[in-house]
Symmetry: C2
Subunit: 341 residues, 2 copies
């Protein structure tokens, strides 16, 4: 679309010299060079919309998510390539939670006029790299300008065998609760970057800047016919996302604190800051690990195919979330976790 | 996703009391009540992603576009319902330009904390109304908060018979150039709203606030086997969008000024402001009419099915755009039209 009410640009920037169509041509070239997604594309960037052929017998899975400057990232600690990576990763993570194979991406980029062409190219480099790693590519987009903040909104489209998508509301009583990796590192990473100590905890910073969606893990489980009853990605924090599963499945959960894995770098981190690790493990968000429930027998099979799986609790009939403490006492968890507003 | 770096909310607003999940529940209810789209939806709002079944033998058509506060709309002259309508309409217009039937919508809404629940409900009411009118519905979305500006980014997904989508680069020499309605009213509407004279020119204001995507018109042409060689929607202005067709089809165009229709309200408008109507007809954007090229014989058939079609020129071998003036002199057009930045 066109901008109907352009406000005056205060200085002639590089972007303004290049123009919108010049920028689109530059980005189009980058995307074409990188092109190696798995889905069929008849018409990519350059027309009014993209045209793709869905695979026969598959359902289409679609999600939209965004990253806004100074809300979801800050230029002071994040490089543009990481912002691009993460903008794609958080969307692919949503697809992984549905058991879908990512296919196509659409990107709405809002730039501020103080961004350089190089900034935008770095942003796209990050998006392309993350897309490529998981077999998907950018097929369309839109660019606009804001005087206030940069933002990237991405729609990820994926495919799943008909009627075989995963839902958060299908957990069953006695299902074990499984996570695909240690939690809390991303929240730790954010804290250290804000206090400029990234070098002390590089893995934590990396986890926050470039989360890895668990596409391969869920695809491996599904292609080996492991029955996953419920699945969600951990973006808001373990407790908050487990609560989504519990509430939509109309069940409760009991977690075993001693079973929750603690990443070695998180151990060092909490020592350094004299913190309680459980605040980060239970409430730290943006790890983008998967939270799944499945019968215990399936979990034992699953472990043979995916190494990084941790059983941390059980789904129960009684509503609410409880946690078995190290001293075997049971604590009821009332706290939720992060609220966006 | 979660917001990783929440900045302090200055006062306890209605939205903050309601919370993100409270807001999503409210909107979900509204959307479910309105639900009457034409596509198959297995799983709508409330999980990590939406799941739909594409129709057999159809291609998927996808587009993304956005409306940003103070760039694409202003609260001073636009009501929230119109903003919602237009955010959907501009996306459906892109689908119409591909010959696609709209099916599903994904909405990324960024709110500011001074917006009320009522504002957001009005915004959704507008989106739902536009979606409903064209047989499509909201199947997923995301909400976030910004301290700076409200924005709505929408992905529209549609379907088209395999390999039958329209492109802008398929115009042929001697094709006639056809538009689906008079142009320039939207730009006029923007001007009168900014000068607070909307009541004098209600149709112009309406055209700017609630454009009507030409879904029905293109579907009627295609279902009656009218051959449309190239198609684009006029968002940037007649000349700018015709230039897209010319450049991608590697052809030129000759327009006949006397054939370009002038809406009665536009005539009054240019008299009122002592303006030249051709500035608005050629360069005013956001009318969201279709610009098509087709053989003249097809145009004659097309007119039997869709009344509002106007032949305004011819595609020619010689590059560039020329316009035959009222005195039969030919003017070469160098100007382009709107640039987003």
């Amino acid at each position: 679309m066109r901008s109907s009410a352009p406000s005056p640009v205060k200085y002639i920037s590089e972007l303004s010299t290049l123009g919108e169509f010049g920028l689109i041509r530059q980005l189009d070239k980058m995307i074409r060079r990188a092109d190696n997604g798995s889905g069929t594309v008849h018409l990519g960037i350059g027309d009014d919309a993209a045209v793709m052929s869905p695979e026969k017998g598959k359902d289409l899975v679609a999600t939209i998510d965004n990253m806004i400057e100074d809300i979801h990232f800050e230029r002071s600690y994040s490089d543009w390539q990481s912002v691009g990576w993460k903008a794609v990763a958080i969307n692919l993570s949503d697809l992984s939670a549905m058991g879908a194979q990512p296919r196509w991406l659409l990107v709405n980029l809002v730039v501020t006029m103080d961004m350089t062409l190089r900034d935008i190219q770095s942003l796209y480099r990050g998006m392309i790299a993350c897309g490529k790693r998981f077999g998907t590519r950018i097929v369309g987009g839109n660019t606009a300008r804001s005087d206030k903040e940069c933002s990237i909104t991405i729609t990820a489209l994926g495919e799943v065998n008909r009627n075989q998508h995963l839902q958060r509301d299908h957990a069953k009583i006695n299902d074990v609760i499984v996570i695909s990796g240690p939690l809390g590192l991303s929240a730790a990473g954010l804290k250290i970057m804000k206090t400029k100590q990234s070098k002390l905890f590089p893995q934590a910073a990396q986890r926050h800047l470039r989360p890895v969606p668990r596409i391969h893990e869920i695809q491996t489980l599904l292609s080996n016919n492991i029955r996953v009853n419920a699945c969600i990605d951990i973006s808001d924090g373990l407790i908050a996302d487990l609560r989504h599963i519990c509430e939509s499945s109309k069940l409760g959960a009991t977690l075993d604190r001693s079973l929750i894995p603690v990443h070695p770098q998180l151990k060092k981190f909490v020592q350094h800051f004299s913190m309680n690790p459980y605040d980060l493990l239970l409430y730290g968000g943006e790890d983008y690990e998967l939270l799944m429930t499945m019968p215990d027998s399936e979990f034992r099979k699953a472990k043979k195919h995916v190494r990084n799986l941790y059983k941390i609790g059980t789904m129960v009939k009684q509503k609410g979330i409880r946690i078995i403490q190290d001293n075997n006492q049971i604590e009821i968890i009332h706290q939720t976790g992060f609220r966006h507003f």
